[in-house]
Structures are given as C-alpha cells and as structure tokens.
C-alpha cells in the first residue's frame, strides 16, 4: 500500500470513527429528551390511576365491553394458564375468543378437557377472509368463552378470524403465553373510557414471567429470574416501554403497540382491513397502518402506552432463542419501515413522520451499523495509530456508562411509578446493566444485522422458541356429565 493509500485508509478509519461517535451522541441525546417526556407522562398516568374510581368502573354496565382474542399455535404448555387468567379478569363485560391456528400438538385437546368445550353454532360476520374454520366451540364452564378451530394461517389470520366472531366494540389481542393481572382490562380501558372517540389503541408495559410461579392463570409468586440473560431482557423492556413508548405517547407518535397485550377499537380494525398476513409480525405493522390512515384522513386519534405491567409473557432463556427472536424482530422492523417509508420526514404525517419515523430508521433499523462498525474501527484506530489507545478505552467507558444511565432511567421510572421491584432487585438490575455492553448488546447487534440481511433476501417465517414447562392445574371434580358448570350464561 503506497503512502496515498495509507493516508486514505487512515482518513477512512478516522471518519468512520467520527461518524460512529456522532451517531452515538445524537441517539443518546434523543434518549435524554425522551426521558424528560417519559417522566412527565409516567407521573400523569400514575396519578390519574390513583385518583380513579375502579370500583365503580368494574361494576358499571356502561363500561365498554371488550372481546379478548387469543391466537395460538402449538400452545399446549401455556394456553390453560393464559385462559384461566382471562377468566379471572375483574371487568363487567367481556368475551374470550381463543383461536386455535391448526396446532399440531394437543392444544385443542387440552382446551376441550380443561374448559369442557361443546360445539356451537355461532353466527359470524365475514369482515375478513381467513383460513378455513373447522369448528367453533363454547365452554360449559365459562360463559362467553369460545374456541375457534381453524386451519393454519398464521397469527394475523387467526386474529382476523377472532375479529369475525367478536361482538364488542373493543378488541384486545394477546399472546397465548400471556398472563393477565385481574385488573388489566380495567386499567387499560380506563384511559380509553376517558376519551373513547379519540383513543383507538392502547398498549402497556409487558412484564416478564419467566421466574414466576403460576397456577391456573394466577401468579402465586413473583421473583426476578435467576438467568442473567432474562434479567437483561427485563432491563431492555423497561427502557423500551418506559422511556421510549411513554415519551412517544406524550408526544403523540406511539410507534408500537405490542401484540402481547393490545387493545384496539374494533371499527378501526375493520375499516383498515384487519391484520396483515404479509408481515412476519402483525403488531408493529398495524400500529403504523393506524397512524398512516388516521393522519392521511386527518382524523383526531390517540394511541397510548401505559406505564404499568398489566400482563406478563415469557422471553427466551438462552442465547440461541434470543438471537432467533431478535432476528425475527429486525426483519419485521425493516419490513414495516420499508412499507411505510412514505411517512419518513413527511410533514403530512405530523409527529409520526417528522420524529417517529426518523427514530425508527436510526434507532431501530440501522443502529447495528455504528455498533458493529465501532467494534471494527476502534481496534483498527489503535493499531494504525489514528488515536492513542487510552482515550478509546475511555470512550468504551463512556459507551458503557451511557447504557447504564439509560437503563437506570428505565428502572427509576418503573420504581417511582409502581414500586413492584424490591430494593435488592433494583440493585441487581443496576449492576447487571454494567455488563450489558459486554456480549449482550453485541449479540443483539449481530442478530439485527442478520435480520436486515434476511429482510433484504425476502425471508419470512416465525421460528418459535420452546415454552417453559409449568405445573398443570389439578383436574376438576367429576359429575354424572363432566365437570360442574362454574358460570352459567
């Protein structure tokens, strides 16, 4: 390499490093701003909740009824607990529609036995075309509980089938491994009931139930999971839900309503054509679609995120499953952003176009570029003497501390609002956050990189991870004709 080539190389390393650093400064400055908005929104929601009359809401016949739709594919391990937790909801009027998406395991048999299902003739409106519905069942144990057995068509297809059968003006979608707090619907619907004309969707912080003891849908014991990988995901969820989504709610561009627990106004879903089967994950795409449609039509609307965990789900417990999950999420993020790229920096879409989409591009689609590039550039910069080694080491320290700071912000928001973690758990999470930058983040960056490549290659597919095996509920009492009816119509 001649002198000219060498100087080009040095310049390239230098400017690559400056670019990485500039990205890093900008994105973290953005997080600091988000923190301010998130703090304000957190305070508002927490205090509103404290002053709310939940007792009256839970008894009033004017509290808007909700259809809860639970799509499931091969969920024999988790479906009972999920549905039992739904049966325990403290809400005046709701129905539960479980959609068995052509499971190959014993999901339907488990449901038949657990919930004493009988076939039912229920009229449905064909708002959306779906895969063939093979049978509809009602439960003899729980009123307003139905199971739709259909051919496999994917989660979006199952949700659409559930909407076809749903009766109520609001639809709550969730995952089959989600466990609900008894007051989850009340707390989520509370914000909708304040302004039902404008509030079209609500999401909430999704908790992690990996370390929990769950029996018949009820959480018997809560504990921070022992596995560090799960605790690191908890830190990430707190950051994402409490820092990002609360701030986005405040600034009126809530970009993601997570499918693990989401409430939508049913007429909006129908008007938009239901969940799309063309995307790997339907939840992000639906949120974008709502924004695009409402802003284009200039209709007043709000999408909100709640700061409290009212439902809990399982997360991967090993590195392989975590990688697969993030790989899939990255594909989805890229697919969705690309589909709605017309909103990017488009003032017609207001805050969504001017703030939400740019964040999505630089904070979700592309962040793996500077993160992986920095891994390469820093050693090169030291090796070629572009910079001395010790300032770069200090920079790594700054990188680690910034991540810790953002994580602590998330933990602080959670603690100030709800105090669900013990002091010991808080200290453990803070300590863990120091180690997040050594391995965990790099794995996620690599998964994001691979996910982006998969998107560019047009790959699709779900790749579920194995569920935690939990103790099953005790069998019900026998009568001459099956278990007793627990709840009559």
């Amino acid at each position: 390499m001649g002198a000219f080539g060498y100087s080009i190389l040095l310049a390239a390393i230098y400017w690559a490093y400056i670019a990485c650093m500039a990205y890093y400064v900008i994105i973290n400055a953005y997080y600091m701003v988000l923190f301010l908005f998130a703090t304000s929104e957190n305070k508002l929601r927490v205090r509103q909740q404290r002053f709310e009359d939940f007792r009256a809401l839970s008894r009033s016949r004017h509290t808007l009824p909700v259809s809860v739709i639970v799509p499931g594919y091969n969920e024999e391990q988790t479906i009972s607990n999920c549905l039992y937790s739904l049966g325990n909801l403290d809400y005046p009027q709701y129905e539960v529609i479980m959609v068995n998406d052509g499971s190959g395991d014993r999901t339907l048999e488990v449901l038949m036995d657990e919930f004493d299902l009988v076939q039912a003739d229920i009229f449905s409106r064909r708002h959306f075309e779906t895969a063939e519905v093979r049978g509809v069942y009602r439960s003899r144990r729980f009123a307003e509980f139905y199971v739709i057995d259909k051919a496999n068509g994917g989660k979006a297809d199952s949700l659409n089938a559930g909407i076809n059968f749903s009766r109520y003006p609001y639809v709550c979608t969730c995952d089959a491994d989600t466990i609900f707090a008894p007051d989850s619907l009340l707390k989520a619907m509370r914000v909708i009931l304040r302004d039902p004309q404008k509030a079209v969707a609500v999401g909430s912080l999704i908790g992690i139930n990996n370390g929990y003891e769950i029996e018949r849908g009820e959480i018997k014991k809560r504990a921070l999971p022992r596995e560090s990988i799960v605790s690191l995901q908890l830190i990430e969820y707190l950051r994402s839900f409490l820092l990002n989504r609360l701030a986005w709610t405040r600034m009126n561009f809530m970009m993601v309503v997570s499918g693990a627990f989401a409430i939508y106004r049913r007429d909006v879903l129908i008007e938009l054509g239901g969940f799309s089967r063309d995307f790997t994950c339907e939840d992000i795409e639906m949120t974008f679609r709502v924004h695009e449609f409402m802003r284009r039509e200039k209709r007043p609307y709000r999408i909100l995120s709640l700061p409290e965990a009212v439902s809990w789900t399982e997360v991967p417990e090993n590195w392989k499953n975590l990688y697969r999950q993030r790989h899939r999420w990255q594909r989805v993020i890229c697919e969705t952003f690309w589909e709605y790229r017309r909103m990017f920096l488009n003032p017609r879409y207001g805050a969504v176009g001017l703030f939400g989409m740019p964040y999505y591009l630089f904070g979700e689609v592309l962040p793996w570029i500077p993160e992986l590039l920095a891994l390469l550039i820093i050693p090169l910069a030291i090796a070629f003497g572009v910079f001395a080694w010790w300032p770069l080491l200090v920079f790594i320290g700054i990188f680690v501390l910034t991540n810790v700071l953002i994580s602590v912000m998330g933990i602080l928001l959670q603690d100030v609002g709800f105090r669900t973690l013990t002091l010991r758990e808080i200290c453990r999470l803070i300590l863990l956050s120091f180690f997040e930058s050594f391995g965990y983040r790099q794995l996620l960056s690599w998964a994001r990189f691979a996910g982006t490549i998969a998107f560019l290659r047009g790959e699709k597919g779900w790749q579920k991870f194995a569920r935690i095996e939990r103790k099953g509920p005790p069998p019900g009492p026998k009568t001459p004709f099956g278990p007793d009816t627990e709840k009559t119509t």
């Binding site: 076939q119 039912a120 003497g385 200090v394 920079f395 700054i398 002091l423 808080i426 009568t479 009559t488």
Partner: protein, 414 residues
C-alpha cells in the same frame, strides 16, 4: 501519531467520562436512596395509619364526644399529609350525627386552611384534585359552589375530580349541576352516567321532567338514569317513555324497566317484541327475563331466530331466567329446523342444569324414556361431534347410554 483530523479524543473524552460518571452515580444514588426514603416514609405512614384506624374505630363505635373530637384534632396535627387526607375522607363516610360533629372539628383544625383552602387555588393540579376529593366528603357551606367551580377548571383531570366529588354529595342541587354538565362534554357521558347511577340520594324528581324534554339525548339519559329509581311513580313514566318516537329512548326506558323489574313494566312487551329497532327487541327480551314472564316464553323462542345476534343472546339469557319452569316446554325446540334456535335452546338447557339432571336420570336408569328422548333431541341440536366429546367426559354409566344413543357398536356389544 499521524495527523488525520482535528478531533482530540484525549481532550474530549476524559471530561466527558467524568461528567457522565457523576451523572450515572447521581441517578443510581437517587434511585436507591429514593427507594430507601420511600420505604422509611411508607413504614411511618403505616405506623400512623394504625393510630388513625384505632381512632376511627372509636369514632364509629360511639356517639359524638368532646374528648374524641380533641383527640381527632391532635391526630390531624401529628400525622403526615397522606394520613390527614385519608382521615378526613373516612370521617366523611361516618354516619350522622358523628359525621357532622367531627367534620366541624376538622374545619377547626389549625392546618385546615393550608391543607385544603389554599390547595384549591394551587398551581399544581394534583393539589387541586386532592382538595376537591376531600371537599366531596365535607358538609361545608358553599361546597357545592366550590365544586361546581371545579367543573370550569382548565384541566380535564381537575374537572373529572370535581364531577366525582359532586356525585358524592347527597344534594339535589349537585345532581342538577351534573345533569346540566352533560352538555359541556368535558367528561365522557358514560362516566357521568356511571357517577349519577350511584348518587347517594334519589334523583327521580329531577329526572321525571326530563323524560318529556324536546332533546332526545336528554330523554335517553333520563330514562337510563331512572333504572336505579325505587319510586313507584317511575314505572308508569317509563312505560310511557317506552312508546317514545325515538327508538333509543324506547330502548333505554325498557332497559330501565328491566332493571326495576316491576310487573307493571310487562305491559310494554307485546309491542316491544315486534319493534323495528333491534336494540328495542333486545331490551324487551331482557325485560321479559327480568320479569320472569313464563307466559311469553314462545315470543322469546321466536327471538332466538332474530336476524340480530344481540337480540338472540338476550332472548337466550331471558329463557335461562325462566328455567326450570319452562324446561319441559323448551325440549321440543331442540329439533326445529333453524339450527341457531336449536343450538341456543341446547345452551339454555345446558346452563340451567337440565342436561345434568337428565344425565343423572340416565345414570340411575339407563332405560329411562324421557331421559333417552331428551338426549336424542340434544344430539340433533348439538351435533354428534359435540355429544361424543361430552360422552368422553361423562361417568361410565352415562357414557355407555350415550354411546348407545350415538350408535356405538362396541358399546352395544359390551
């Protein structure tokens, strides 16, 4: 070092690191110390709460006493703000004459003005809300006026708190203000209706005239709110409202009649069953169930085949309410042509326990004619697949009989 650019990391990074480390340490300290302080404060609040509960127990358990009043003032002076507010709210829930006597003491308490008086004008909305909540519990002069001023606050949360506080007042003037407040649309109408439904005193005197209001929205609200009325005169007025030209008013009136469940309300049923608006028919089904009008069960079975799902569901619920008296009569509908009717009748009989009772009969006597006939009809209504599933979960005696009915050769052979 080769000269590449102007950026000097050694100059920038070290101070940045120091600042950042300080900020991180501050946040960590704030989080942990904040939590420790919270735990201490909570322990103190809980300790004070024991004292407050003990005092309240004695306030509830005896007529008003001077020494207890003095103790009340002492406790108010000693405890923190959280328990002060809680104590005042709990005194507001005492029965008379203790309530008035001790509330008078509260207003004589030295810190009263700073706790509540100034709070109403506080720039911090949550202080204003807290003060409004407390005022909702107190019988002070002009409290209605103060609360109605809260309805004009610039902040929606304050307005909501004022509305809730007014809804707790056992005062017709407060009810009148809330009824007029619907027009402002600052609080969702359903929330206001929920508040007024739980109003501490009857409001029928205000609502009766509104049944004749020219605005249909007002008539609907009045009809809806009268569902909790225990006044006998309400029923004939609602019966008249059930003939209103507006279907929403008719529906609201009939739903309220269902809630009141006075037999005089049944006079609207014949016409309501055939109403053109589905929600009126649905309300009629509900009323029939509430009044347990077994004589009209055939009308309800007819509604099981209605074009509207809600009407069918309400008819099904109403039929369930008429069981077990009509169970025998319902059995013949298990084999009608309309599969939705068959299916819903099967659901009713299942939910009412008829299926269980027949199964017990079958277990006791596998050759029982009525029981076997019942299950033959049930197979038609619910389908073989469903019955096979039920048979799997039945006790052995019933299982054998059901398999025979379903035509299981293996069972016949055994």
């Amino acid at each position: 070092m080769p000269e590449v650019g102007y950026f000097r990391p050694d100059v920038v990074f070290v101070p940045a690191f120091i600042v950042l480390a300080t900020v991180v340490a501050a946040f960590v300290a704030y989080t942990i110390l904040g939590r420790l302080l919270y735990e201490r404060r909570r322990a103190r609040v809980l300790k004070e709460r024991v004292r407050v509960e003990d005092l309240l127990g004695r306030l509830r358990g005896s007529p008003p006493r001077e020494d207890l009043g003095e103790e009340l003032e002492g406790v108010l002076a000693d405890v923190g703000r959280t328990n002060k507010v809680a104590l005042v709210e709990m005194i507001g829930e005492l029965k008379e004459p203790a309530r008035s006597a001790y509330l008078a003491r509260v207003t004589r308490y030295e810190g009263w003005r700073s706790l509540f008086g100034r709070a109403l004008r506080s720039p911090f909305k949550w202080r204003r809300i807290e003060a409004l909540r407390i005022l909702g519990s107190l019988d002070l002069e002009d409290v209605i006026y103060v609360l109605s001023q809260g309805l004009e606050d610039r902040d929606d949360d304050v307005v909501y708190a004022a509305a809730r506080a007014l809804a707790k007042r056992a005062n017709l003037r407060a009810a009148g203000i809330l009824l007029d407040f619907f027009e402002e649309k600052r609080v969702d109408p359903k929330r206001l209706v929920t508040m007024l439904e739980e109003f501490p005193i009857p409001t029928h005197e205000l609502l009766w005239p509104k049944l004749e209001d020219p605005d249909p929205e007002t008539r609907i609200r009045a009809a809806t709110l009268l569902e909790v009325s225990e006044e006998p005169e309400t029923v004939p007025r609602l019966v008249r409202a059930a003939e209103d030209p507006d279907p929403d008013v008719r529906s609201a009136a009939i739903r309220s009649l269902a809630n009141i469940a006075d037999p005089r309300g049944g006079s609207v049923l014949p016409e309501a069953f055939g109403d053109g608006a589905w929600f009126v028919r649905a309300a009629a089904a509900r009323l029939a169930g509430a009044l347990k009008t077994t004589g009209l069960y055939e009308n309800l079975v007819g509604l099981l085949g209605d074009e509207n799902w809600w009407v069918r569901q309400n008819a099904k619920t109403a039929l369930l309410a008429l069981c077990p008296e009509i169970e025998h009569d319902l059995e013949r509908y298990l084999v009608v042509e309309d599969r939705f009717v068959r299916n819903m009748v099967a659901e009713v009989l299942d939910a009412s326990g008829a299926v269980q009772r027949r199964a017990a009969e079958l277990e006791a006597d596998p050759d029982s004619g009525p029981a076997r006939r019942f299950f033959e009809r049930l197979i038609v209504a619910e389908g073989r697949g469903s019955m096979e599933g039920l048979a799997r979960r039945a006790t052995p005696g019933v299982q054998a009989a059901l398999r025979e009915l379903l035509g299981d050769d293996a069972a016949r052979a055994s």
